[in-house]
Symmetry: C2
């Protein structure tokens, strides 16, 4: 079964004065619609969990630092209901994750200094569209090495 969380390798164009990091174009696989783009920082060893978007598709990159993500398939009609997907996002390797609606997710900062996530979402933020659970709602390994 194809992974429902799409991974797309992204280019970094290096130059002496500073690099350029691709994120997402309207022609990319994984692009659905433009609702909003925003940034989240997560401090080292801090965990933000759990949220689920009932309608939003996420496009996630980490242009600064390293972040461990856990995703849990919350699609009740899926053969993979409750399946865990764990991924570290960073610049090396640098890639984008496209996360469909109905996945629970949580994340932890791994690097000293900034751990900057950017999300390009197909919808504008709407609190009605988000479900939340406390951090201990799912038993996952926050100390895994990937």
């Amino acid at each position: 079964m194809a992974n429902p969380i799409l991974k797309t390798d992204l280019k970094i164009i290096n130059a002496e004065e500073g690099s350029v990091f691709h994120f997402i174009k309207n022609t990319d696989v994984g692009f659905k619609n433009f609702g909003e783009v925003y940034f989240s920082n997560v401090e080292k060893d801090c965990i933000k969990a759990w949220k689920m978007h009932k309608e939003m598709t996420l496009n996630l990159v980490v242009p600064v630092g390293r972040v461990l993500f856990h995703f849990i398939d919350g699609r009740k009609d899926s053969e993979e209901f409750n399946k865990l997907h764990s991924v570290v996002l960073s610049q090396d390797p640098y890639f984008r994750l496209t996360v469909p609606p109905m996945f629970w997710f949580g994340f932890k900062g791994l690097a000293d200094g900034l751990n900057l996530i950017s999300n390009q979402a197909d919808l504008v933020h709407d609190p009605e569209e988000v479900d939340r659970k406390p951090i201990d709602a799912f038993d996952v390994n926050w100390n895994m090495n990937l």
Copy 2:
């Protein structure tokens, strides 16, 4: 005359585990269309200049570091042809600049470490749409304190 470069104050939502930084929504003033979003880093004391987009509208933020931007009005039919606009983008104050087509721009990294620019553009990158000039094409003050 209204400043052709629109400045929009943006929210930072602080939390102990890490902050959230708004960037742009499809309902925002300044939003035109979604072509692409990408990041550029510029090293401290390094200058990237000059480029002009003939068709692209830029939406610029600096979520990490501090960057001095110079913009020169290149609209030949404008009363403000050749007028210089100089702005420092950072997180404090945190705001977005919307830059119409036909402005020459260059920028310089001011902070130690990362100076990360993000651009939400209404068009996908197209080299045919970009004009370039060497750094000495315009005589501006790269050491100004804003």
